[in-house]
C-alpha cells in the first residue's frame, strides 16, 4: 500500500508551482493476489500491483490528459507537462464547465486488515477445500479465490482538495462440472471473513449434481425465477447501456422516452449508493466529487441517470459523483435493488410451469431501445413444474428486453446478495420472479 500521506505528497509535489491553470490527478493503486484453479488443482497463481496516475490539466475551456505508472517526481512531472501540452492543442469545448469545485466526500470504512494481508498459503488452503469437496462428488471444480487492496485518491488544485479511500476486496468463484452439467456459486465483498467457502462449494456442487442428464426444451416464452446471479447481469446491462447521463444525452440509453414513465413493475426500485457498506463502497468519483445516492427507478418509474460534472453542467444539474474512470461517461457501479417479502423457495412454489435460471452468460446488447439483450443460460437451468424444480435442461439462448422483463416482475426474494465483479462493479440484488422471458434457441 502507498498510504494516504505518501500519495498526497506525491500528487501535491507533482502539481506544485507549475501555474498550469486548474489540474487534478486521479490515482488508482491496486494490489491483487488471485489463485485460480481448474480440474481440481491450482493451475494459475498470481500477484500483481500497480499504481496509475491520471493527470488532467484544464484552462480556457480546454483540457488535456496524460497517464503514467511512473510515480517518481520526474515521472509525474513529465506526465503533468504532457497533459498541459495536450490541453494547449485542444479546441475549446463550450460545454466544458471546468474542474469541479472543492467539496469533501464522507469517509466510509471498507478496509479489512485480514483481507489486505492474506497470503498465498491461505488462498491455496481455501481452494484446496473446494477442490476436495468437488472431487468427493466426482466433479471437476474450476474458479478463483482472490484478495487485495484498492487505493483511490484525487488531488485537485481547485480548493485545493484531496480525497483518499482504501478498500479491500475478496472473492471466491466456483464452477463445478460433470460431463453434462455444471453448477455455479460466487461470494465476495470487502471482508474475506464473510466468504463461506464450504457453503459456496456445496451450492455449486449441488447444482452440478442435480443438473445431470439435461433435456431438450422447446424455445418460447416462459415465466422465470432468476437467481440473484442472473438479476446481477440484468442490472449491470441496464447500468452500462443507459444509466449514465452521457448515453441519455446522446439518445442511446434505454431511458430515452421512458424518463418519468412507469416502465417497470411497481415492485422494482433501483438506486446507486457509493456509501452503503452493504455494497462495495467508493465514496467519491474520479473527479473527487462525493458520490450521491441516486434513485434510478422508484416503484417502477424511471427517475433519471447518474452524472459527472460535464453531463451535469449540460443538464443544468449538480454532478452526482459518478465519473467512474479518468475518461468515458458517468456510470452507476454501486447499485441496489429493493428486495421483496417472499423467499426464493416461495417464488419457485408460485410457478406452475416455468424455468429456474442460475445465471446468464455472454450477454450482449442487441438493441438499445428497451435494452434488448441476447445471451445464454449457464450452470444450472431447470424446469419448474407445479411449484417445484424438476428436469434440468440444456442451456438456452434468449433475446429479451430487460426493461420489458422487469415490467413483468411479479415478486422479488426477501434476501439480496452482493455481486462484486473484478472491475469493482457491485450489485446488491435479490432473486426475481418474472412473468415472461423469451428464449429463442438452445445449444447442443
Amino acid at each position: 500500500m502507498l498510504g494516504p500521506d505518501h500519495i498526497r505528497s506525491l500528487l501535491r509535489d507533482a502539481l506544485r508551482n507549475l501555474h498550469l491553470g486548474d489540474a487534478d490527478i486521479y490515482l488508482t493503486a491496486t494490489t491483487q493476489a488471485l489463485t485460480r484453479f481448474a480440474n481440481n488443482r491450482i493451475h494459475q497463481n498470481v500477484y500483481h500491483d500497480d499504481a496509475v496516475a491520471h493527470i488532467r490539466v484544464a484552462y480556457q475551456k480546454r483540457q488535456g490528459r496524460a497517464v503514467t505508472n511512473n510515480l517518481s517526481f520526474d515521472g509525474l512531472r513529465a506526465a503533468v507537462l504532457q497533459a498541459r501540452e495536450h490541453a494547449g492543442l485542444m479546441p475549446e469545448d463550450p460545454d466544458f464547465p471546468g474542474l469541479p469545485s472543492a467539496s469533501q466526500a464522507a469517509s466510509v470504512h471498507a478496509y479489512d486488515e485480514a483481507t489486505a494481508n492474506a497470503g498465498p498459503e491461505h488462498r491455496a488452503a481455501i481452494v484446496g477445500t473446494v477442490c476436495r469437496k468437488a472431487a468427493d462428488a466426482r466433479l471437476e471444480a474450476a474458479g478463483f479465490y482472490r484478495t487485495g487492496v484498492t487505493e483511490l485518491a484525487v488531488f485537485s488544485t481547485r480548493g485545493p482538495r484531496y480525497s483518499y479511500h482504501a478498500g479491500t476486496f475478496a472473492g471466491l468463484l466456483i464452477t463445478a462440472r460433470s460431463e453434462d452439467s455444471a453448477g455455479w456459486s460466487k461470494g465476495g465483498g470487502w471482508r474475506m471473513g464473510e466468504i463461506d467457502a464450504e457453503a459456496l462449494a456445496d451450492e455449486a456442487i449441488g447444482k452440478a449434481v442435480r443438473g445431470r442428464n439435461p433435456q431438450d426444451l422447446e424455445p418460447g416464452d416462459y415465466p422465470v425465477v432468476l437467481e440473484h446471479y442472473a438479476v446481477d447481469d440484468m442490472l449491470e446491462a441496464l447500468s452500462f447501456y443507459g444509466m449514465g447521463a452521457q448515453m441519455v444525452q446522446d439518445g442511446r440509453s434505454w431511458m430515452c422516452g421512458a424518463l418519468g414513465q412507469p416502465a417497470m413493475s411497481p415492485l422494482v426500485s433501483i438506486w446507486d449508493d457509493g456509501l452503503d457498506p452493504a455494497g462495495w463502497p467508493v465514496p467519491f468519483d474520479a473527479e473527487g466529487v462525493p458520490r450521491s445516492r441516486v434513485e434510478i427507478v422508484a416503484d417502477g418509474v424511471v427517475q433519471g441517470p447518474v452524472h459527472n460534472s460535464y453531463t451535469a453542467a449540460k443538464a443544468g444539474l449538480a454532478s452526482t459523483g459518478h465519473q467512474r474512470g479518468a475518461t468515458g461517461g458517468p456510470t452507476a457501479t454501486n447499485l441496489f435493488m429493493r428486495p421483496g417479502i417472499r423467499s426464493t423457495e416461495q417464488l419457485i412454489a408460485s410457478v406452475d410451469k416455468g424455468l429456474y435460471i442460475t445465471r446468464f452468460y455472454y450477454t450482449r446488447l442487441a438493441h438499445n431501445r428497451g435494452c434488448v439483450m441476447t445471451g445464454m443460460t449457464r450452470d444450472g437451468t431447470f424446469v419448474i413444474e407445479n411449484g417445484e424444480l424438476t428436469t434440468p435442461v440444456k442451456n438456452l439462448r434468449f433475446t429479451q428486453s430487460y426493461v420489458d422483463a422487469l415490467a413483468g416482475c411479479q415478486a422479488l426474494s426477501d434476501t439480496a446478495h452482493l455481486n462484486l465483479n473484478e472491475a469493482g462493479v457491485a450489485m446488491h440484488v435479490p432473486a426475481a420472479l418474472l412473468e415472461s422471458w423469451r428464449f429463442t434457441g438452445q445449444t447442443v
Binding site: 481448474a38 479518468a326 452468460y361 449457464r378 433475446t399 473484478e422 434457441g441
Partner: protein, 485 residues
C-alpha cells in the same frame, strides 16, 4: 542481458524454481477521441514493469513489479517462487519442468514491426485535424445525434528471457482508427461504423495505416446510412435464408466460433469457470468435420499488419503459421508449451500476456479464413434470395462455442441476384459446425482483409488481447435470421 532480468532469473533459481521466465515490458499508448466535435480524450499512457513466472514441483507462481531496480526484481522473483510453492503444496507431487514443458526453448534475437512512419513522430495537430475533418462530415447529416472519431497508437518494447537460455527483444507498433455515427428518430436508434465497429480498425503498422483508411472520405456515407436505417424495413422475422456475410463481420464470426474454440487450454478445461470450454475436444483432433471443403483456416503470427504478429510469443517460441481447419477438417489447436506437451505435440507459439503484470495465456494470433475464388459481384449474382450482412453490432456465443447469435449494423436484401433495399436490425443465429458446413462459397484474395480485434477478453485476472482475422466475404446457406423480434 538487462541486470534486473538477470537478478530475477538468479533469484528464482536460488529460491528453488525449476524453470522461470521474465518479461520486461514498456508500453506507450496514445489515444485521441473526438466526440460530437470536441476532443473528449487525448491521452498519453505509459506503463512499465516486470513479470516473473516460476515453476516449482510442477506448479506455477507469478509476481510482478513496477519497481525496475534489482530490489524490485529480486522481490518479485522471490514472491513468484513462494506462490508456486503454495500451489504445489495443495496440488501434491507434480511433473518435472522437462516433462511439463517439453524440450527447452532458447530463442535469441530481436524483432521490430515493419512500419512506414512512426506514429509517435507525427504531430498531434495532424492527428487532431484528421479526426475533426471526419467529424465535420458526419455533422452534416441532421439525424445524427452522436458522432465519434478516434485514433490509437501503441509502441511496446518487450524483453523475454528464461532459465533455458532464451533472450529475445521486440518492439511492436500498432495503429488504429475509426468513425461512428448514431442517428435517432422515428422511434429508432441506429449506428453505422467505418472501417468496422467496436471503435476502429487496428493493425501492427505505422501512421500510414490510419491515413489510408480515409476516415473523412467515408464519414459522410456512414452517417447517411445511419439516418437511412431509421426508416428502413426491419429484417424478416424467424426465417431461414442464404447469407452473404461481409469480411469484417465474418472476421468476428471466426474469432468467436473458431478462434476461441481451438484454444487448447479451453479444450482441456483450464478456462471452464470463466470463458468456458470447447466442443472441439482433443479426441476430435484430425477426426471431425468442422466446415465444408471451402473452409480453410490458419493461425499465422507472421501476417503483415496483424495484431497477432510478432517475432516470438511470450514463451519464446518463434512466429509461425499452422493449419487449424484444412478442407473443412479440424486439424490444429492454438497451444502453449505445457498444453501441447500434454498432447505430445510441439507448441505453435500462442502464449501471449496483455501486460507486464499478467501471465501469458493461450491467445489467438491471426486466425484467418483463406480466400476462395469468387468475386463478390458473381456471388451476389449467384444468389436468388438472401441477405448481405455488414459490420458487427452484437455478438454472443455459448460457453462451449456451439450456439451463436450475431447482429449487424446493416442488412441488404438480395433478390434474383441483385442487392436491394436496406434492412435494419438484422440478426442471425446457428450452431457452429452446422453453420460452417453450410459455407458453399468464399470470395477471392482481392476481397480479403485482415481485421483487427483489439478487445479480446480472457483470463482471471482479466486480460485484453489484440488479435486479427483475415477473411473475404462468404456465403452460407439456410441460416436462421430475424431472432430479435
Amino acid at each position: 542481458m538487462d541486470p534486473i532480468i538477470a537478478t530475477a532469473l538468479n533469484t528464482a533459481r536460488a529460491r528453488g524454481a525449476e524453470y522461470a521466465d521474465v518479461r520486461l515490458v514498456s508500453n506507450r499508448e496514445q489515444r485521441i477521441v473526438v466526440r460530437n466535435g470536441v476532443m473528449e480524450t487525448m491521452t498519453a499512457d505509459e506503463s512499465v514493469g516486470l513479470g516473473v513466472r516460476a515453476l516449482y514441483n510442477g506448479a506455477w507462481g507469478f509476481a510482478s513489479t513496477r519497481e525496475l531496480a534489482n530490489a524490485g526484481a529480486d522481490q518479485a522473483a522471490g514472491q513468484a517462487v513462494q506462490i508456486a510453492r503454495a500451489s504445489a503444496g495443495q496440488n501434491g507431487a507434480g511433473l518435472t519442468a522437462a516433462r511439463l514443458l517439453g524440450g527447452p526453448v532458447a530463442s535469441r534475437g530481436s524483432y521490430t514491426t515493419p512500419i512506414g512512419i512512426d506514429p509517435f513522430t507525427v504531430a498531434l495537430g495532424d492527428k487532431l485535424a484528421l479526426l475533426l475533418a471526419a467529424d465535420t462530415e458526419m455533422a452534416a447529416v441532421p439525424q445524427v445525434s452522436a458522432r465519434m472519431a478516434n485514433v490509437v497508437f501503441i509502441r511496446e518494447e518487450r524483453t523475454f528471457a528464461n532459465t533455458e537460455g532464451a533472450r529475445v527483444s521486440q518492439t511492436i507498433y500498432e495503429a488504429g482508427g475509426g468513425v461512428q455515427a448514431t442517428a435517432v428518430g422515428n422511434g429508432e436508434t441506429q449506428r453505422r461504423s467505418y472501417p468496422q465497429s467496436h471503435g476502429r480498425q487496428q493493425g501492427c503498422a505505422g501512421w500510414e495505416y490510419v491515413v489510408e483508411m480515409d476516415l473523412a472520405g467515408n464519414a459522410r456515407r456512414i452517417a447517411e446510412e445511419a439516418a437511412e436505417l431509421l426508416t428502413a424495413e426491419p429484417c424478416p422475422v424467424g426465417i431461414t435464408t442464404d447469407l452473404i456475410i461481409d469480411s469484417s463481420q465474418l472476421a468476428l464470426q471466426i474469432h468467436e466460433s473458431c478462434g476461441h474454440a481451438v484454444e487448447l487450454d479451453r479444450a482441456l478445461g483450464d478456462e471452464a469457470a470463466f470463458a468456458g470450454t470447447s466442443f472441439l475436444t482433443p479426441d476430435l483432433l484430425n477426426d471431425f468435420r468442422y466446415g465444408s471443403e471451402q473452409v480453410n483456416i490458419t493461425a499465422d503470427s507472421t501476417s503483415a499488419t496483424g495484431l497477432g504478429t510478432f517475432g516470438w510469443d511470450d514463451e519464446g517460441l518463434p512466429a509461425q503459421s499452422t493449419d487449424i481447419i484444412r478442407d473443412g477438417q479440424f486439424v490444429g489447436y492454438l497451444m502453449s508449451r505445457e498444453s501441447a506437451t500434454r498432447l505430445g505435440l510441439p507448441s505453435n507459439g500462442c502464449m501471449r500476456a496483455s501486460s507486464w503484470n499478467r501471465i501469458p495465456l493461450i491467445r489467438m494470433t491471426n486466425v484467418s479464413l483463406e480466400p476462395g475464388e469468387w468475386t463478390l459481384d458473381d456471388l451476389i449474382a449467384d444468389t436468388d434470395d438472401g441477405i448481405y450482412l455488414e459490420t458487427n453490432r452484437s455478438w454472443s456465443i455459448d460457453d462451449r462455442r456451439y450456439n451463436f447469435q450475431f447482429g449487424t449494423e446493416v442488412g441488404r436484401e438480395i433478390k434474383n441476384g441483385k442487392l436491394g433495399r436496406l434492412l435494419r436490425n438484422p440478426t442471425y443465429t446457428g450452431i457452429t459446425p452446422e453453420f460452417w458446413r453450410s459455407c458453399d462459397a468464399v470470395c477471392g484474395p482481392e476481397h480479403w482483409t485482415l481485421w483487427g480485434t483489439p478487445r479480446c477478453g480472457k483470463g482471471q485476472p482479466g486480460q485484453i488481447a489484440h488479435t486479427s482475422h483475415g477473411t473475404s466475404p462468404a456465403r452460407f446457406r439456410n441460416v436462421r435470421v430475424g431472432v430479435m423480434h
